[in-house]
Amino acid sequence: MKQPIIDIQNLRKTYTYYKKPPGLLGSLKSLFHREKLLTEAVKEVNFSIEQGEFVGFLGPNGAGKTTTLKMLSGILYPTSGKVNVLGFTPWDRKPEFQKQFSLVMGQKNQLWWDLPAMETFLLNQTIYEIPEKVFRASLKELSELLEIQDILTIPVRKLSLGQRMKCELAAALLHQPKVLFLDEPTIGLDVTSQQNIRTFLKKYNEQKKTTILLTSHYMDDIMELCKRVIIVNLGRIVYDGSLQELIDKHADYKLLKITFTQEMKRNDLKKYGKVSEFAPKRAVLHVAKAQYKKIAAHILEELPVDDIFIDEVSVEEVIRDIFAVTKTGTV
């Protein structure tokens, strides 16, 4: 039987930290008496990923995504559970393992601020023991794909955020990792830069068959890149499966976005479907997929419609729905 490239069983992580009362006096008090607090960041996570998959790892703030990625990279020891990545237990931190994966965090950088990115690349070449030939080939390929040939010799502090992120990615991929963990790689970038990074990741995954686990709060990232998504909330997995199925299952309705020629009452609209947004001259209705044409026709006939627009449910909304459900306890 083929072993999956990433396999996680019953992973849990509880952070221990100490409550610090505010103010100087509080700090002094806490020298002698500290109240211990526990956060169960990851409560029960199980999943496995096959080689070459590009998986989206989603969840609201504080769901435990970064914590999970840190355990998968061996930065943190788990409270309990088993993880196998590429045949290794990450927190043993074996160099043979570390040479085969890479972790990129959007908010943290490894490039040397005062020096051109090329210097960091050369440093990584020595740290990762990349043979000269492989290094040259890798560098050529990455700088073409990312279009960074011209900025490699400019001090990093003079680069734009988008350019810097591209160089970060190149630095992380020079040793040709088999597994790549991306924690919000597009955070803070403008739309074009985000698109560039996405295009690159897509091509890279297709060409290299690198296994990629990506977290992002930008749904465009996920829609364009990931066939499969894993959704966590409050430290537990609430969905693991194909993105399309998720949409089909939860998005069994369409959106009717209507503008009226005169002011309406909310109650007048209720009989057509669930009113999700309402302003006197504008409304958004949720209507079942099976009947949206019929209902739209009725509305056109019976109400003073200026314009009507039929839209698909966005993934954001689907996922928001799922979180709303899990918060109340029933999955």
Binding site: I75, L103, K108, L115, E119, T126, Y128
Partner: protein, 276 residues
């Protein structure tokens, strides 16, 4: 036998590899320094000044008296030289990188050092190399050369033992630092640990005999083992060592090294990173 040969060649390979990486980092550090030339010269001058002031201290001290605690002026300079060598090597490889270890923990830049295929302590040390330590080191070599020129060249076995004890001095000092630094995993904000280590290790530049009374003499050789950070290596160089201290030096270096390794590994298990 064969396996031993293999593992020996592995060790040599690792040492060589760490030196190659160190060399790369050193070049980067120099490039950064040269990018800010004014601060480079300032830093360099401050190092020269502080080395010279240590030297002047001894000159003033011996201006009117022939010997302090049984040490002549020229012998006292050998202690200073040994102290400088141990300090500059320690600074070069780990101490300057460790200077703001608490800060690394707090902003989470330590995470990066845990995912790369090298020992995290090496990466900490290399991340902040101060090439200026070469000043202290050169001054130390000059002082040793002066002594040899004025008196005589010690026998080879003494030189070997001396180098070994300089190495032990570095091991003890760095282990001491690492042991105290593991406290930071629990109390992220304690930033004064490096200063404390520096203050303690300052005693390394004085003769062993300044520690009066059984308690202090005991402390200086065990829990705060400053005598091995200057005085004992110097005594070896001068051929006037108490052999008990040689035995003790071996033991102290081993105990400190093993404790540091144990505590460091244990602390990593409780490391909880910074939220990001």
């Amino acid at each position: 036998m064969k396996r031993m040969v293999v593992s020996m060649s592995n060790i040599f390979y690792s040492i060589q590899r760490y030196f190659v990486v160190f060399w790369r980092y050193l070049r980067l550090a120099l490039q950064v320094r040269l990018a800010y030339r004014a601060s480079f010269f300032a830093e360099f001058s401050i190092n020269v000044l502080s080395a010279v002031s240590s030297l002047l201290f001894i000159e003033f001290l011996y201006a009117n008296i022939p010997a302090v605690a049984g040490w002549s002026h020229d012998e006292a300079l050998v202690i200073l030289a040994s102290y400088f060598i141990i300090q500059s090597i320690s600074w070069l490889f780990l101490m300057s990188g460790m200077w703001r270890f608490d800060y690394m923990l707090r902003i989470g830049s330590f995470d990066r050092m845990l995912v790369r295929p090298m020992h995290p302590l090496a990466l900490i040390g290399f991340s902040e190399i101060q090439p200026e330590t070469v000043v202290d080191f050169s001054l130390a070599l000059f002082l040793l050369g002066r002594y040899v020129f004025l008196y005589s060249f010690p026998p080879v076995w003494i030189i070997i033992l001396y180098i070994l004890f300089l190495f032990f001095g570095v091991v003890i000092l760095l282990s001491f630092l690492v042991i105290l630094r593991t406290i930071n995993f629990k109390t992220i904000n304690t930033w004064s640990i490096s200063i404390f280590v520096q203050d303690i290790s300052n005693f390394g530049r004085y003769p062993r005999q300044i520690f009066q009374g059984k308690l202090f003499r005991f402390l200086a050789a065990t829990i705060l083992p400053v005598v091995f950070m200057g005085a004992v290596p110097a005594e070896i160089f001068l051929g006037k060592v108490d052999w008990w201290y040689v035995v003790f030096g071996f033991l102290t270096a081993a105990v400190f090294f093993l404790s540091a390794r144990f505590l460091w590994n244990r602390a990593l298990k409780s490391y909880s990173s910074a939220s990001s």
